[in-house]
Every structure is written in C-alpha cells, then in structure tokens.
C-alpha cells in the first residue's frame, strides 16, 4: 500500500470531524472560519505559540506512549494520569529532600524519582492483574483517583508553599531544574529526552526480540503462549513500562516547567494521550506525529477560547470525533 493510500483515511477523518464540528459552531452563532484559523495557525504565527505547542507535545507524546505500550500487549492502561502524578510526586520529593545537591547528581535523581514512582504506580495494577486476574482497566483508573488525593496531601502537607494561593509545594533545589534550550519563551531540554524515549520505544517494539514478544502477546495471546512467551509476564512488563513513561512526563512537569509540584498539573493529558494512542492505532512510530497535531489543536483551542469565547471543550470533541472517524475508516475498508 502506498503512503498516500495509508494517509487518506486519516485526512478524511480529520476533514469529516472538522465539518461536523463546523456546522455545530456556526449554529451556535460563531464565525467558523475565524475559529478554525485560530485553531490551526496559532502554533505557527509566533515563536511563543510554537514553543507552547512543543511544551504540550512533550507530555502528550509520553502519555500516549504510556497507553500504547500496554496496548501493544493487549492491555488498556487508563492510569496514565495517576502514573504521571505519582511521577511528579517522586520527582518533587527528590528535588525537595536533596535540594542542596549539585545538578550533576540532583537532576538525574529527580528524573529517576519520577520514572520509578510512575513505574510503581503501574506495577500495583499489573501485580493485581498477575496475581488475582483483576481487570486492569478498573484498577488503573482507580489509581488515578488515589494519586489525585495523594498529590493534594503532598501539596498541602509539610512541603507546602504557604505563600501560594493554590495547593503547591516549595521549589525544588536549583540543581534539579532541567537546563533550558531556549530562554525566552522558555523551552526546557526535556523535549530532547522525550523524543529519544519515543524513538527508543519505537525501536524496542519494532526491532527487538523483547518488543516482538510484547506485540505477539497483544496480537494473539494464545499463539504467543504456545510459542513459549510468558504472556502474563508481558502484561506486567508492559504496564510497568507504561507507568515509567508517564512518570517521566510528571518529572518533566516538575523539573522543566514549574520547578515545583502543583495540584492540577495533569490537565487532561490522560484523555488526550489515549486519543492519540488510539488514532495511531497503537503504532508507536506514529505517536509523536499525532501528538504534535493534537498539541497544535490544543494550543489553538485555548487561543480560541481567549479571543472568541468558544469553550476549549469544543476542540476536545473534535479530537474525539477524529478518533471515531479513524476507527470507522477501518470498518469501511473491511467491506
């Protein structure tokens, strides 16, 4: 199949959902063309817009991978949000407890703290699945809520910043801040690491034996089992890996953006990450590209809300519609 033929259903899906949403927007009495212009071009008009887009691109790519890696093994990880928050807590804990260490030790410690905490948050549902066969959809979701209250506890507990109005911890040590690539507007170097992780995941799942076992498990667990792959162990591994990647996203929010732990940092990255993962159909190579596209839409959406008073949720629905149409294109092709 040629590339053009591959991309065509996606293009049609995007156009169809924009048309559907456009009809609704114009019925509400808004200017559709101005709205779409804002959504599509805000990212490219100013340097600030572009950097905003890249800053969204980082957590979106990582959270999408946190969903697709388990999906490759046939498991649904809906706990990316909790794993990201756990990662943020782990990173902040390291950065606050060892605030005086020099950057060369503290920075890796902060990042590692996030990755390990995220992996642990993925490990518990994985263990429950392995040991008791409990549906991972439920446990990963429930762990989001547990993380939500845990982050509230940390942000209002002993590390709380009394000067801030919103639940927030104090700043992490200077050594834990990710170096900046561009200072004004600020872009932290986490983006390099995020891209490297995305490439690494892609190579792992498409070019290595371990990754092949993972994909085989997802494609047909019975056949994989017959060929001697321990499928249950693959489930566990995939959920831990997913958790670690989501934890990294949390660490970046702390070490790169805020330099502290803030309640609400998870935004709606979980849902967007899952939408990206599903639009990519679990193909890790496609994830960064789809994530960039969604980041563009998201930055455009908040600009649209500011200037035209159209709620950002409008764009979220467009994204969900794109997903639905992409899924539908499968059915059309099957017939």
């Amino acid at each position: 199949m040629t590339i053009a033929k591959k991309i065509l259903p996606y293009l049609l899906a995007v156009v169809a959902s924009f048309v559907a949403a456009g009809i609704f927007i114009s019925l509400m009495g808004f200017d559709v063309f101005k709205a779409y212009q804002t959504i599509l071009f805000t990212s490219f008009r100013t340097p600030n817009g572009f950097i905003q887009t890249l800053l969204k691109f980082i957590p979106l790519t990582l959270l999408a991978l946190a969903f697709t890696i388990p999906l490759n093994a046939g498991k649904f990880n809906i706990g990316g949000e909790g794993q990201m928050m756990a990662g943020g807590i782990g990173a902040a804990a390291m950065g606050i407890m060892f605030a005086d260490l020099p950057a060369i030790i503290l920075l890796p410690l902060v990042i590692l703290g996030g990755v390990v905490a995220g992996a642990l948050w993925g490990l518990v549902p994985a263990w429950l699945l392995y040991k008791f066969n409990i549906n991972e959809i439920l446990t990963t979701v429930l762990f989001n809520f547990i993380a939500l209250f845990l982050i509230d506890y940390v942000c209002t507990g002993p590390w709380r910043d009394p000067a801030a109005g919103h639940p927030t911890t104090v700043l992490i040590g200077r050594g834990g801040w990710l170096p900046m690539l561009v200072n004004n507007p600020p872009l932290h170097s986490g983006i390099i690491l995020a891209v490297l992780v995305a490439i690494g995941v892609y190579i792992y799942t498409s070019r290595t034996t371990g990754g092949f076992e993972l994909i085989a498990t997802g494609a047909n667990p019975r056949a994989a089992g017959v060929f001697g792959i321990n499928t249950r162990r693959m489930f566990v591994l995939s959920l831990i890996l997913g958790g670690a990647v989501a934890g990294l996203a949390g660490a970046f929010e702390v070490a790169g953006n805020q330099h502290r732990l803030i309640e609400g940092m998870q935004s709606n990255f979980l849902q967007l990450g899952m939408i990206i993962g599903l639009i990519s159909r679990g193909n890790n190579g496609a994830v960064p590209f789809v994530a960039f596209m969604i980041a563009v839409l998201e930055v455009g959406a908040s600009a649209m809300q500011r200037t035209m008073m159209i709620p950002v949720e409008m764009v979220f629905i467009v994204e969900a519609l794109i997903l639905l149409f992409v899924l539908l294109s499968d059915v059309v092709r099957r017939k």
Partner: protein, 310 residues
C-alpha cells in the same frame, strides 16, 4: 446514638442510587455480551443534561427523562458500533467516554456561559410513605426517601424478575453466554443486544442525573468522581446479577458515606486519606471477589453470525 445510626443508614440508602442504577445498566448490557466502559462519560452527560433541563423547564421530572434519553442515545451508539459494525468494545466505549466528558462540560459553558455563581435547582424531596414511615427505626431509614431511591429498588427487583423468571429474560441471558446457540434457536441476538444496551444506557443516564438533583443542586465538572468506574467494579462484585448488585451498592455507598462522615467529624487521619478510602476499598474488595465472580461467558465480544466459529 440511635438518631446517628438512623441518619447514617438513611444516607447510605440515599447515596446508593447512582451505584444501583449505573450497576444495573452495566449489568443489563453485559448480559447480552456488550461490555460498556463509557459509564463515567454517560453519567456526566446525564448529570449535565438533567441539570440544564430541570433548570430551564423547572421540572426535575423532565430533567430525569431527558437525561435518560441522552443515556439511551449513547447506548444506541455503543450498540451500533459494536453489534452492527463489530468494532472493539473497549475502544468504542473509551471514545464514547471522551465524547461524554467533552459534551458534559461544553453544554453548560455554552448555555449558561462561564459564571462564578452557577444557578441552583431544587433538590429531590423525600416522599414519606404513609403508615410505613411511622415504623420506629426502620421507617425513617427505608420509607422516608426521595422517589429515585424507591425507583432504583423497584428497577432492581424488576430486572431480577425479568431476567430470571421470564422466557424473554432467559433468551436475553443466553445471548450473553453463547450467542451462536441462541441464534440457532431463533433468538434475534442483534435486537437483544440493542435493547439491553439502550435500556442500560437509560439507567446509567438516570444515575448521572441523580447527582446534581440530590447532592449539589448544580452541575460541576467531573462531579461523578469515578462513580461510573466504581459501577463496573460493583457489577463484577455483584456477579452480573440484579439483586447482588443491589446489596453490593449498599456496601459501596456505606464506604462513601463513612469516608465523608469521618471527614466532617474529623479524625487523626489526613482528610485526603479518607477521600482515597472508597477507591482503595474497591480494589481490596475486587481482590476477594473478582475470581469468584460469575461473568457472562461472551462478555466483551462481538458475535458475527457469518463466521464459522466464535
């Protein structure tokens, strides 16, 4: 002390309603093999629409009806994509969850604008049942509740009777166990799956509408707080049977009320730990019940009659 216990038990029955309705809705769809995972989104839409319609029409009853219709619409979409188009149930369920999430916040923002003081609707009044509510102790707990408490109990009993005491119910259950056999016996599996998912969606929409009508008097973003997901856990806990789901929801609701009460009274534990309690308790409960839970054999699968085997 006595009044405290009465008040506690009364609240448990009051708070069980969303669990009962969403649990029964999930169960009904699952009994024909459609595993719904969009509850959270569907409940949010039910809450949002139910609130808006009651506010503008002044009639809570109309709000509930429209919320049920919105749930039915989602149920129909789920049935169409999974049963007619044979698409993956989890993927479609998640997509519908996203759409529900977006629609539920979009509608109030578009219709009411962004306000700091959201309008309020009157909450559901309790309807004491004559004579029965006079019984000491039991009366105020069981027979001085709002209408949906009674409805949710009646729905549960009705579903039990339908599923386990009627021919149609047996046919419906067979579709979720082994659709090929059901099909060969002349049961219309497609129709069964559509209707069970649509009516299940209505119940889930009603469960959502209950939230603004009883707790806050208004819609707030994400006000379900995971109750939709907990409903799935409850359905497993209740072994996909109406009456155990009814009892199980008492347990889920008791944990919720207890965590809230202790927070109000104050304890040595930080309040966030108490807020986590319902979710942790649910996970613990699943450890003990998940393995033994009787699950419809065909749950989560799509039936294609043109395939040679299942």
């Amino acid at each position: 002390m006595d009044t405290m216990i009465i008040e506690f038990l009364r609240l448990v029955l009051l708070s069980m309603v969303p669990f009962v309705l969403a649990g029964q809705g999930t169960m009904l769809g699952g009994r024909t093999g459609v595993f719904n995972v969009a509850q959270e989104g569907m409940m949010l839409v039910g809450a949002s629409v139910g609130f808006l319609v009651s506010f503008f029409s002044g009639s809570i009853f109309l709000g509930i009806i429209v919320a049920m219709l919105s749930g039915a619409l989602f149920g129909f979409a789920l049935a169409y994509f999974t049963t007619s188009l044979k698409m993956n149930q989890f993927v479609i369920g998640l997509s519908l969850f996203f759409i529900g999430l977006g629609v539920s916040t979009l509608l109030p923002k578009l219709i009411l604008g962004i306000t700091l003081t959201p309008p309020l609707i009157p909450t559901l009044k309790s309807i004491p049942i004559p004579l029965l509510s006079q019984i000491p102790f039991i009366g105020p707990i069981l027979f001085k509740q709002n209408i949906l408490v009674y409805v949710s109990v009646l729905v549960s009993i009705g579903l039990w009777y339908f599923l386990f005491r009627t021919q149609k119910g047996l046919e419906l259950r067979s579709v979720g166990e082994y659709p090929m056999t059901a099909d060969s016996l002349g049961i219309n599996t497609t129709k069964m799956r559509y209707w069970s998912t649509i009516i299940g969606g209505m119940l889930i929409g009603m469960a959502g509408a209950y939230l603004p009508m009883v707790y806050a008097g208004t819609f707030t973003e994400g006000m379900t707080m995971g109750r939709g997901w907990l409903a799935i856990a409850l359905t497993f806990f209740g072994g996909w049977s109406p009456l155990p789901i009814l009892y199980g929801s008492l347990f889920f609701s008791a944990i919720e009320v207890l965590a809230f009460r202790v927070q109000v009274i104050g304890s040595f534990l930080p309040y966030q730990i108490l807020q986590m309690f319902p979710y942790i308790a649910t996970i613990l409960v699943m450890i003990f019940t998940f393995k033994r839970s009787r699950v419809p054999a065909f749950l989560g699968n799509n039936y294609d009659r043109e395939k040679r085997s299942l």
